[in-house]
Amino acid sequence: MKKLAMAKTSLLLLLSACLLAGCDKRFILLHPKGPVAQKEYDLIVLSAILCAIVVIPVLALLVFIVIRYRDKPGNKATYRPEWNESKWLEVFWWGIPIVIIGVLGFYTAKTTFALVKPPVTNVKPVTIQVTSLDWKWLFQYPDQKIATVNYAEIPAGVPVQFVLTSDAPMNSFWVPQLGGQEYTMPGMAMRLWLQADKPGTYYGSGANFTGKGFAHMKFKVVAKPQSEFLAWTKQVKKTAPALTKEGYEKLARQGLAEKTAFSSYPAGLFEEIVDKNGGKYMSHEMKHGHGHMHQHDEN
């Protein structure tokens, strides 16, 4: 029994050591590259520590009790078979979790409300409309009027407002190093704020199962300095082909796709996708994300 408990404690310690030290760059969640991911990371650490405050002493207590009160001849530890209540102990162990949950709950609520706002407000944000298809990602840049498939480029240090929908079963848009995911849902346009602090290439993937080609729905988000980003959009505008209505329909069919860029797309394509999948019946608020997010539309 002792061995069991010890094995578990050491495993746990190993795990938490890994978590706290972030021993390896490959643990991308533990190496946030933007303010949103940073806030989420802080909460991960806080919640892990708060949980450890309870879990580790309890494990130690378990080991102690099991060793001390084993039923073996000559065990001199107290044996009180009728001792079954203690008001103070009960108050103590109802109290401890309540306090911990209280603290954690406070920070959770605070961050939850913070994350629906743009990470910084003194820079003009970029908007990218994301559509998940079977099984590829379409990114549209309404300000630049260009589109890409299976990769996105963003300016570093600028908040990016991703507007998410789906023209296929629900997926989830996730770029772990920049921040958490959000569902792409048919008939809705949800907002997700992300920002990359430094230029770099970040791993992204679909996180909600959508069938056969789901495992291949990976993409890269490339953050560049503002000037290079602008140069890139100009380059796409000049050299890439246009995305036509038929082109979109072909793209939307089930199958995988290569990385591509388009110099333009049919006007109102994104809104049309949202509307035809049920968006036209949704209240304005539902369709364009919840009220709290909506307030910042005009930014």
Binding site: M1, L4, K8, T9, L11, L12, L15, D24, L29, L30, K39, Y41, I44, S47, C51, A52, L62, I65, V66, Y69, R70, D71, A77, P81, W83, N84, E85, L89, E90, P97, L104, G105, T108, A109, T111, T112, F113, V116, P169, M170, S172, G179, G180, Q181, E182, P186, M190, R191, S205, G206, T210, G211, A215, K276, G278, Y281, G289, H290, G291, M293
Partner: protein, 644 residues
């Protein structure tokens, strides 16, 4: 024919052959030993809760095997990057059936097996409130599970995940019959589960032995009460949700479709309104088992009985108010997410209290390391860590990072295996001698225990790490680029260790049937509650004389006071008669489900008509009970006493 049978996969051809061989072998053995009549009389038509419990256990262990094989296949595919062992389609089917089977066709029947074994015995009753309905519940589960499982060789398995989110599960994206199998398999067994929930609730509320007030009731019975209340409130939601999905698929309706104004997100809400309480339905009885085991094997009264009861009721109520945490990332708004994050964390409070109470039951006790106790002791650390990661997941903004990643997978396997499976196994080892009259072999049991436990940590700890590395669930393959390979390989090794543990358990059961330590006392563990006051296996009527139970731990108090459970004279005992209707009605449901799955409307309607006829036939039966004469009772009792 080509559409009917699943073709083209050597794994499935192998399974086909195995199924045919097994069926032929079973038919041969039954015929050769002239056992058909025995099977019908003693088992198929039985309404005895103890036998029904045994049938539940057999099925659930078979389903654990099937679900386990699914798990091993998945882990093989993921052991290395770019493995070509399974294709995407096959992998998707396997993870779908793995999840569905483990929750609905393994955990649920295992739970009902323990309800059936223990509840009437523990509260001093002769059967459940509605024995006929109880048999019906079992057969509905049986044929529901059968229907779900044949999709493997006929028609094709469902492949849209264990909760079948639309529009992926709609006709537009899953035109095959797999999702229909899913809907009807669950629907049919779900009716049975709902009936069991009502049955055991009434049993506990109305059939307790004289003197057993609710607050003197054993904690396992309390946990079953809490679980049944949860079943009653949530299973109707499942019924509606699946029925609506079927209406979409069968009649071309637009409730959850992408087009026609349907709303797929409503399905996600509805299914989790059932799905989240469902995990509490299965874990609450496990909590009850731990309470019984800890108290018995610490030779001490349970600590903080009142706290234990209240914490279970709080969990049962709170479980309805947490469902949104399964899709924080739907972005319902900061206020909604904050509310559900806090309710979810709040469930950690009563759960934490229970852990403290278990620990302090052992404190100043005398701990015996029996098999049930081992599993209970292994549960505490496992569930603590699983619970802690659960609290971490409840932090809504952080959940945006964990959601649908392997962190989540590791978390719920840790609570479901560490909490539910360990608990049910503890219960199995604990009550096995009561039902069968012999103990399961200790040495083999310890092997199985260590294989399971070490295997568990080897399998799932790396998955937490994979979550931090950004690996999402339900991917059938991955590349070398992200550094996921070593962790996946280790995880696969762990899965195999658990698999070997299960095989050892199978061997343990077979071995113990032949050579297990016989128990003639009826009370092999020095137990505390009423089930240990009667012989093992108990006579058909359980209690020759209904005991008085005015104290918590009634049997323990009786032993202390030197009260013997035997009586000098007996009265005739009123018992329910066996009936073949539950079996036949469930066969009709099976036919209906099968017909509707394949859109063979006439077969579907014929099956439903059969169900109606069975219901009416039962309604016209008036002589459904009989008496065991007093003489017969005293003969049986004398026989038991001679045996002891």
């Amino acid at each position: 024919m080509k559409d009917f049978f699943v073709t083209g996969d050597p794994l499935i051809y192998g399974a086909d052959a195995a199924i045919v061989v097994t069926v032929v072998a079973i038919v041969f053995v039954l015929t050769y030993f002239k056992k058909w009549r025995w099977l019908w009389r003693e088992w198929i038509t039985t309404v005895d809760h103890k036998k029904i419990g045994i049938m539940y256990i057999i099925c659930s262990l078979l389903m654990l095997f099937r679900g386990g094989v699914d798990a091993i296949l998945m882990r093989l595919q993921l052991a290395m990057p770019d493995t070509k062992f399974l294709e995407s389609q096959h992998y998707n089917e396997i993870f779908t059936t793995h999840g569905t089977i483990m929750i609905l066709f393994m955990a649920m029947p295992f739970m009902f097996a323990l309800f059936n074994w223990v509840i009437p015995l523990q509260i001093g009753a002769r059967d459940v409130a509605f024995p006929y309905l109880n048999a019906l519940s079992f057969w509905l589960f049986f044929f529901g599970a059968l229907l779900f499982n044949i999709s493997f060789v006929i028609g094709g398995s469902p492949d849209a995940g264990w909760l079948a989110y639309p529009p992926l599960s709609e006709l537009s994206h899953s035109p095959g019959v797999g999702e229909n199998f899913y809907i009807w398999g669950i629907q049919i067994s779900g009716i049975g589960s709902l009936a069991s929930g009502i049955n055991f609730l009434v049993t506990i509320l109305k059939m307790r032995a004289p003197g057993m007030k609710l607050m003197k009731m054993p904690l396992f019975s309390w946990s079953v009460l809490a679980s049944c209340i949860t079943i009653i409130f949530t299973f109707p939601v499942l019924t509606v949700t699946l029925a609506l999905l079927f209406v979409d698929r069968f009649f071309g309706a637009h409730i959850f479709t992408m087009d026609g104004g349907g709303n797929p997100m409503m399905y996600v809400n509805l299914i989790w309104m059932w799905g989240h309480p469902e995990v509490y339905i299965v874990v609450l009885p496990a909590f009850g088992i731990y309470s019984e085991v800890v108290s018995t094997f610490s030779k001490k009264k349970i600590f903080g009985y009142t706290s234990m009861v209240f914490s279970m009721m709080i969990i049962s109520v709170l479980s309805y108010f947490t469902w949104v945490h399964h899709f924080f990332t739907m972005g319902a708004g900061a206020d909604v997410n904050a509310f559900f994050a806090i309710t979810t964390m709040a469930i950690g409070i009563p759960t934490g209290v229970k852990v403290f109470n278990w620990l302090f039951t052992m404190f100043r006790g005398r701990i015996r390391m029996t098999q049930p106790m081992l599993w209970t002791l292994a549960f505490v650390p496992c569930f603590l860590v699983g619970g802690a990661t659960g609290v971490m997941l409840a932090v809504a903004p952080a959940d945006y990072q964990y959601h649908n990643s392997y962190f989540l997978i590791a978390h719920f396997h840790q609570t479901l295996i560490g909490g539910v499976v360990f608990g049910y196994l503890a219960g199995l080892y604990y009550w096995w001698p009561k039902i069968f009259g012999f103990k399961l072999n200790d040495r083999l049991g310890k092997w199985a225990f260590w294989l399971w436990n070490i295997g568990f940590y080897v399998c799932f700890m790396p998955q937490y790490a994979l979550g931090f590395m950004g690996m999402t669930r339900r991917v059938y393959t991955y590349g070398w680029d992200m550094g996921w390979a070593p962790y996946n390989l280790v995880s696969t090794v762990g899965a195999f260790l658990m698999g070997i543990g299960f095989v050892v358990q199978g061997w343990q059961i077979i071995y113990s049937i032949k050579r297990g330590e016989r128990d003639l006392t009826g009370d092999p563990w020095n137990g505390r509650t009423l089930e240990w006051s009667i012989p093992s296996p108990p006579p058909v009527y359980n209690f020759a004389k209904i005991p008085e139970a005015s104290e918590q731990d009634a049997w323990w108090e009786m032993k202390k006071k030197g009260i013997k459970p035997t009586a000098t004279s007996y009265e005739a005992i009123h018992m329910p008669k066996n009936s073949g209707i539950p079996f036949l009605m469930s066969v009709c449901w099976f036919i209906a489900g099968f017909g509707l799955t394949f859109h063979w409307i006439w077969i579907g309607l014929a099956g439903l008509a059969g169900v109606g006829i069975c219901l009416l036939a039962r309604s016209f039966q008036y002589k459904t009970e009989y008496y065991i004469p007093a003489k017969e009772v005293s003969r049986i009792e004398a026989m038991y006493r001679r045996g002891a």
